[in-house]
């Protein structure tokens, strides 16, 4: 048996290496500097503000990492949803909503 297995044995450390690398890189690539996070926060606020009033102090924004994926998780308290886009004429009705959760995959290097 030892003889036979010597003929057919193929190592698998390569597969190991590849899988470990992929996991490590997912985390490495998701590292975002505090400055970039701040820019992202400002951009998100400015875009969402076109559609709804949000509580800027209440925003939680973070990269959530688990074993094989990274998600950008934002918790943005909404004070009021606008009926019309900013600048377009028309009545605006007040609608209260809270704690809307937005999830999106982040695959940025």
């Amino acid at each position: 048996m030892g003889f036979l297995s010597r003929f057919f044995k193929v190592g698998n450390s390569k597969q190991n290496a590849k899988e470990r690398l992929q996991v490590v890189l997912i985390h490495d690539r998701a590292d975002i500097s505090a400055g970039m996070m701040e820019c992202l926060r400002r951009d998100i606020i400015s875009v969402i503000s076109n559609y709804m009033d949000i509580s800027e102090e209440g925003i939680e924004l973070e990269l959530e990492k688990d074993k094989s994926s990274v998600a950008l998780v934002a918790n943005i308290p909404v004070l009021r949803v606008k009926r019309r886009l900013e600048g377009t004429p028309g009545k605006e009705e007040k609608i209260h909503a809270e704690g809307k959760k937005k999830r999106s995959q982040n695959r940025k290097r």
């Binding site: 057919f8 193929v10 190592g11 450390s13 390569k14 290496a17 690398l21 490590v24 490495d28």
Partner: protein, 266 residues
């Protein structure tokens, strides 16, 4: 003269930046281009010994940027091939001895006088690396097919991209086909898939690399070997020639018996 400034870098140390710089410089010079190899590893100078020019150094890069000498005085001319020069690093100083502004000034003085400027970057991601990459138009990232090296290469590629470098090519060094065949080494496709960057060449693990650095004679100027062939191919690809990426067989035999052994994965 249109000068191409290319930084050779890796993040991780010991993967072959200096060997790659020395050999590609020699190869380019042999093809008739004027080349200066710049050792940006201030304090840990090594490119001079790999190129075999250590005995002829008078001034160094730090002397140039501090105006202690003229650039031409610091350039060491390689006598074995026309148009190959070395700008050695200082050995008794540290990375802080050169500021980004000084580095920019140095690169500007080299631009226009040579076809190629190859900058051997120090390991790491700190000021030494940043200075080396500062003025480069292109980057060659060197990695061995190991987890730690590929990971560091990924980090370096990220930093280079963030700096706006858009010509980044990877050299896979110390590749061992025998181990890949046995499923014990990342193969070239794995590395390119993980890093998502173009591979410009694969250099096999080769005893002649050690021998050539013992002698201080770049492979391209002496020994014929699989690694020398790989460096020649990379040089051709740098020059825009379409050389297919063939996987080198390295130290492995090529005869019938060797082929049979490969088939049986012995």
């Amino acid at each position: 003269m249109d000068t191409r400034i290319i930084v050779v870098t890796s993040g991780k140390g010991g993967v072959g930046k200096t060997t790659v710089t020395a050999n590609l410089s020699a190869c380019l010079a042999k093809q008739g281009y004027s080349v200066v190899a710049v050792d940006a590893d201030i304090g840990l100078r090594n490119l001079d010994v790999v190129m075999g020019l250590e005995n002829r150094i008078v001034y160094n890069l730090v002397d140039v940027v501090e105006n202690a000498c003229r650039l031409q005085q610091a350039l060491v001319r390689d006598k074995r091939v026309d148009n190959l020069y070395l700008l050695p690093a200082a050995q008794t100083r540290t990375k802080d001895a050169v500021t980004p502004d000084q580095m920019r000034y140095l690169c500007n003085s080299l631009r226009g006088s040579f076809d190629f400027v190859l900058i051997d970057s120090p390991a790491g991601i700190e000021s030494g690396f940043r200075n080396a990459a500062l003025c480069a138009d292109e980057a060659l990232v060197v990695a061995t097919p190991e987890v730690s090296s590929v990971r560091d290469a990924d980090r370096i590629i990220g930093l280079l991209e963030a700096d706006g470098k858009n010509s980044i090519n990877l050299i896979v060094n110390r590749f061992r086909q025998k181990m890949v065949d046995k499923g014990n080494m990342l193969d070239v496709n794995d590395v390119s898939e993980v890093l998502a960057v173009k591979i410009i060449g694969v250099v096999p693990e080769d005893d002649s690399v050690v021998i050539s650095s013992n002698k201080g004679e770049p492979l391209s100027l002496g020994l014929q070997s699989p690694a020398a062939k790989a460096f020649k191919d990379i040089t051709d690809r740098l020059l825009g020639k379409d050389v297919p990426l063939s996987l080198p067989q390295g130290e492995q035999g090529r005869g019938f018996l060797a082929g049979l052994m490969r088939m049986l994965r012995l």
